[in-house]
Amino acid sequence: MSKDKIRWIIFAGLFLFVTLAYTIDIKMVSSPSYEVQKSFDYIESLPEGTILMISFDHEASSLPEVQPISLVMIRHAFRNNLKIVGLSLFAEGTAIGYRTLNKIAAEYDKQYGVDYVFLGFKPQHIAAILGMGESIYDVFPRDYLGNQTDTIPIMIGVVNYDNIEMVISITDGDRAVQWIEYAGPRYDQKVMTGLTAAMITSYDPYLSSGQLFSVVGGLKGAAEYENLYGEVGKGNRGMPAQTVAHLYLIVMIIIGNIIYFRNRKRQGRSS
């Protein structure tokens, strides 16, 4: 069989198993990891009216993985009557952040400017992170809709990080690292992140050194958070398919290794 045909069979198999896992109703139980539990407990413990800053620092291509995290975290914040200051330090995250906030705000009957605001995008992210430590009004003189920031009800008195309880960076790259390195030590700002699974090991050193408060990682992290929140969302819906895909890949790796070692043995005999 040609290599191309083997490749097609493997892809077709993956597509078939993932689709089947989606169409068949499979209930999966997953206990929350320490980090997800810590994130949930912290947000749960905040008093009403506390201001969180959520930064949408990701591209559109990583939406399937990071959006379930941002959706459940924003829902959690709005359910507990916390206020959200949204922004983006990644150009592609701008419209995504605005739409996501508006969508969840409508579910909880939250009012723009009073319960949440979206400040928009700012280029030169390091300068923006440092600048907000001095004055958010200087970095974002106007919000995404063009309103003067210091006159928006939610922003009155919110001058810098002293008035922000926590920064949550939803990211698919190293943008949260800049939040940790620049907003953390200099302004003593607490940073949490929701990120793609591929980036988890990159953030482990910051987590174990206490510079990063907690991490909600990947679709699994979103599913765990949804379980704690008490609502099935995209994270939980994807878990059976994720498990089936992983099992399929493990089987493929084992088969591939068996074939490899068998071929090597044959070559050894013939030589």
């Binding site: 169409t23 559109a60 953390g184």
Partner: protein, 204 residues
């Protein structure tokens, strides 16, 4: 059905045709994606950098100070001229100087000092128990560092410790690879979810 969903569904399928082999449908969808992303980013940058930070303060508030960064930015384009390319060194020097000044202390603190302090953990806990995690960290750190110590040949005890370091590295690479696979699968699952629910309405 929403026209956006139809377009997104068709483009998703067009991108997946690459799994069969490279073809014009895939390339058209790929070009469209790159073009759209670049166009969107360009518009956002134009609005937030030029309009909000330069033209609006200059024209509406008569803030002449913004001319300084504007001129410095324009000097970057002098690189296109052989005669005046030296002028571009001024903004570059400023950027490197300011960038290094901001980044070096922050990185030194976050990536070196804090990491060193987090790596040095007591082997005996406050309750008098043995801290196995600390032992793993110390052994892993020292053996991995030994692997990257090239001033002496990796023979004898150094060779054995370096070999142990490679095992720790393998575990790290394995974990990273596993997470990356999980990440890519999540993206794929997200698209399948979109195709089956929003696009084809097979599942709710």
């Amino acid at each position: 059905m929403d026209i956006g969903v139809i377009i997104a569904g068709i483009l998703t399928l067009a991108i997946y045709t690459f799994l069969y082999k490279d073809n014009p449908i895939y390339r058209a969808a790929e070009s469209l994606l790159i073009g759209l992303a670049m166009g969107y980013v360009l518009v956002i940058y134009w609005q937030t950098a030029f309009m909000d930070r330069i033209f609006s303060p200059l024209l509406n508030e008569n803030d002449w100070w913004v001319l300084i960064p504007l001129i410095l930015g324009l000097l970057m384009f002098s690189r296109f001229s052989r005669k005046y390319s030296w002028l571009s060194r001024i903004p570059i020097a400023l950027m490197i100087g300011a960038g290094a000044g901001v980044a070096i202390p922050a990185m030194l603190y976050a990536r070196t000092l804090k990491q060193i302090s987090a790596s040095v953990m007591p082997l005996i806990t406050e309750s008098g128990g043995f801290n196995f995690e600390a032992l793993v960290v110390i052994v892993g750190l020292l053996s991995t560092l030994t692997y990257f110590y090239f001033s002496r040949e990796h023979k004898g005890i150094i060779g054995k410790v370096a070999k142990l370091g490679t095992y720790f590295l393998m575990i790290f690479f394995g974990a990273t690879f596993g997470y990356t696979v999980m990440s890519r699968m999540s993206t794929f699952i997200g698209r399948i979810d979109f195709l089956l629910s929003d696009f084809l309405h097979i599942i709710k």
